[in-house]
């Protein structure tokens, strides 16, 4: 057992902290969130040149071959700065799905381009019929000779507007909620019949509703085995949960530490707020919630890293705990900042909204508590 970071991991953490302190203050982040693109392509290329985009990609495909712990450190560190660049949809979800289910030629053509920052992707797996169930798939894919034809509507596809490729789940057999019969397809963004309705999300990011109207793609664009996409989706979602949990841990760290700083400075009744015992105890509870979430995040990440049988259970417990702790830390950060906590001028509000969306992603605390208890 060894819980220490390697020298490389320490360097990664330091280089992200350095990037955030020089490039990513609140005003810069707000400007990016309000820009047409919603993030900075220049930053994306910086990420590529610093090797962050190559981190989770295998060495055989131009990557660095990092493990899930490396991705955890990446996401936790970026979470401290509320980074808006599409690491999660493009690198973790899209890249993860290609790595897990892509054919040799698909990997050869896409993974090096993901690693060097020349393409991006996203994954369209959700539908309006059931906001938490990846197995609820009404979108249909029918084979027509050497093509598949896809028709349907996918919801809340993160950063779809900046993706060069989408992975879309569609039903090739079975009923709407069956695990069996879901297949994954790789679809170029410019495919005929694919249209998007783009919108901002409350946390300053971007998403789209994606409509597929008889989109024709070659059979070779089937990702993995026909009818067997659910397993890949589950694995990709697990990686997504680990990534956003790490991001939430980073965000919670900023929230509880900056709330400590604020309550030390803000004076009422002739005393700093931090002098009041009720405030001290609340801050202590925030510190504890943060630490428990961080502990379980580390453990679940390491368990999935070594493909332990215990990993799935821990991932459910983790997503539940992240939802519970981030709500506690977020709400109390706003509360202890008083009226200022309600304003968009302070970073607090933006972390609060990001944590709110993280709980909603990939099934919220209720869904995962239910899955955890069985």
């Amino acid at each position: 057992m060894d819980l220490a970071y390697t020298a490389e991991q320490n360097m990664l953490e330091e280089s992200i902290a350095k990037f955030l302190s020089s490039e990513y203050d609140l005003d810069s982040r707000k400007a990016l969130a309000n820009s047409d693109l919603g993030y900075s392509e220049e930053h994306w290329q910086t990420f590529a040149s610093l090797g962050w985009l190559a981190l989770p990609i295998e060495e055989a495909y131009g990557g660095i071959g990092g493990d899930l712990v490396d991705t955890m450190i990446l996401c936790e560190s970026l979470g401290k700065g509320l980074v808006v660049e599409p690491i999660l949809p493009s690198l973790v979800l899209f890249g993860g799905a290609i790595t897990l289910a892509g054919s040799e030629s698909t990997k050869q053509s896409l993974l090096p381009a993901l690693a060097d920052g020349s393409i991006k992707g996203s994954i369209a797996y959700l539908e309006a019929g059931a906001p938490s169930d990846f197995n609820h798939v009404e979108t249909i894919a029918e084979q027509d000779g050497d093509h598949y034809v896809l028709t349907g509507h996918k919801s809340v596809v993160f950063n779809a507007a900046s993706a060069d490729h989408l992975i879309v789940s569609a039903r090739t057999s079975g009923g709407v909620k069956d695990l069996q019969g879901i297949s994954l397809f790789l679809i170029p963004a410019e495919a005929k019949g694919l249209s998007r309705k783009d919108y901002p999300t409350v946390d300053g990011l971007r998403a789209s509703e994606v409509h597929l109207d008889r989109v024709r793609i070659p059979n070779a664009n089937l990702l993995g085995d026909i009818d067997e996409g659910a397993e890949t989706l589950q694995q990709v979602i697990n990686r997504g949960i680990l990534a956003i949990s790490a991001e939430a841990v980073g965000a919670m760290e900023v929230l509880y530490t900056s709330t400590i700083e604020y309550t030390k400075q803000r004076e009422q009744f002739d005393h700093p707020l931090a002098d009041f015992q009720v405030v001290k105890h609340r801050l202590t509870e925030m510190f504890i919630e943060y630490n428990l979430a961080k502990s379980l995040c580390m453990k679940a990440t390491m368990l999935l890293n070594q493909a332990s049988e215990d990993a799935q259970r821990h991932i459910h417990a983790l997503k539940f705990l992240i939802g519970k702790s981030s709500r506690f830390v977020g709400q109390n950060a706003v509360q202890l900042h008083g009226g200022m906590g309600m304003t968009e001028d302070l970073a607090i509000a933006h972390y609060f909204k990001r944590l709110m969306v993280i709980d909603a992603m990939f099934g919220n605390a209720n869904i995962h508590l239910e899955a955890f208890t069985g």
């Binding site: 057992m1 060894d2 819980l3 220490a4 970071y5 991991q9 712990v69 400590i260 030390k264 931090a274 002098d275 015992q277 001290k280 105890h281 801050l283 202590t284 509870e285 510190f287 504890i288 630490n291 428990l292 979430a293 502990s295 379980l296 580390m298 453990k299 390491m302 368990l303 070594q306 821990h314 417990a317 983790l318 539940f320 705990l321 519970k324 508590l369 239910e370 955890f372 208890t373």
Partner: protein, 384 residues
């Protein structure tokens, strides 16, 4: 970062399991053969005192070995040692006691032949321990202290041979100053023990009255007036031991199996969503707390301090113990009510009530939870 155990650690785990299989008395023998169990542990190379340093006969476990050792012992519910001598006084004697005191007291602590109790709390000094008033006055010839005062909540004072005691030798300066650490024999005619019966109907704590007790200066540990410093280090020790995380891991499994045996309609209590979710929330937090302890151990293994996370263990660990007690109480249903030596209803019901009642003490002793939060706020978060 890697969560798996090394080959050496796995071999150690097998060794601990084999040892338990071969030596742990079962059933009623658990009580009658206690001393043989501790003898076997000692013969294994200091396993009876797993936290003692090598110089004093401890096994010199690595932190991972310590974790494995606690885990395996916890799983099999091996009999615990009374904590006062081995866990609490011994480290103080090792750090601050004279060589004579170490030679005189450590062997009896280790083999269990001498029972100790802790004379800290007083009627006016609970969470505010430094407020203690028990007076120790040095005799004119400088050979003994004359001790007068009252201690309270003294666990197992009624079976103790000795008490380690905080006394006031000076009222000058801050109240943390002027406190002196004395070792007092309980058979002194000036020592009177009166029982206190607590919520669970059991007798484990006492009042101890000290009237003109003459304590030879050889029984003073360290310097006069430095007792608070010594005790403070010990309190941290005591607190980390009170989290009982491995016991809670086992306790929660037992609580779940108890609930599965309780019929509710056509199903069991475990199928009731309100109960099941309470179990799930608790289990997720316990998993996180268990790994928080690992993080603490890993820091120590890397040569560092236990780190800020360690302060969470007592606070959260005792809260979790109480919530497990509550699950059992709820599972017992109306069979929580029958009181007395005879058991009725499900086999766990009888003990569930006592554990629930007695367990309310866990967030009070060793520094109440509210005090723990003050300590974390001050020492970890830097809030004055």
């Amino acid at each position: 970062m890697d969560i798996s155990f090394s080959e050496e650690d796995l071999a150690f785990q097998r060794r601990v399991r084999t040892f338990i299989d071969n030596n742990l008395p079962t059933g009623m023998a658990l009580w009658t053969k206690r001393s043989e169990w501790f003898k076997a542990l000692a013969d294994e190379g200091g396993w009876d005192v797993p936290k003692w340093p090598k110089a004093f006969g401890g096994p010199d476990f690595t932190p991972t070995q310590r974790y494995i050792f606690d885990l395996e012992m916890g799983k099999q519910s091996t009999p615990p040692q009374l904590p006062f001598g081995v866990g609490m006084l011994a480290p103080i004697l090792m750090n601050y006691g004279s060589e004579e005191q170490q030679e005189r007291f450590l062997p009896g602590i280790r083999d269990g032949s001498v029972n100790w109790c802790q004379g800290y709390s007083e009627p006016g000094a609970g969470s505010d321990l430094a407020n203690l008033k028990t007076r120790a006055e040095l005799s004119d010839d400088g050979t003994y202290y004359l001790v007068n005062g009252q201690k309270i909540w003294t666990t197992l004072a009624h079976i103790a041979h000795w008490m380690f005691c905080l006394t006031r030798t000076s009222s000058a300066g801050a109240k943390q100053e002027g406190i002196t650490f004395l070792l007092i024999p309980m058979d002194d005619p000036g020592v009177e023990v009166r029982p206190i019966i607590t919520l669970g109907g059991s007798h484990s704590v006492n009042e101890v009255y000290l009237t003109d007790v003459k304590v030879p200066v050889e029984n003073r540990v360290g310097e006069e007036g430095k007792g608070w410093t010594y005790a403070k280090g010990l309190l941290a020790h005591e607190r980390s031991g009170l989290a009982g995380i491995q016991n809670s891991v086992m306790g929660l499994e037992k609580a779940k199996s108890n609930a599965r045996k309780v019929a509710v309609g056509e199903a069991s209590l475990m199928d009731l969503s309100s109960f099941k979710h309470k179990v799930g929330v608790l289990e997720a937090e316990l998993m996180a707390l268990e790994f928080t302890e690992m993080r603490t151990l890993a820091r120590v293994a890397a040569g560092g301090d236990p780190g800020p996370e360690s302060s969470i263990l007592k606070l959260k660990g005792t809260e979790i113990q109480q919530r497990i007690n509550e699950l059992n109480l709820e599972a017992a249903g109306i069979f929580a009510a029958p009181w007395g030596p005879e058991a009725f209803g499900p086999d766990f019901a009888h003990g569930a009530t006592q554990s629930y009642l007695g367990g309310r003490a866990t967030t009070i002793y060793g520094g109440a939870s509210e005090v723990q939060k003050d300590v974390i706020a001050k020492n970890v978060l830097g809030l004055s």
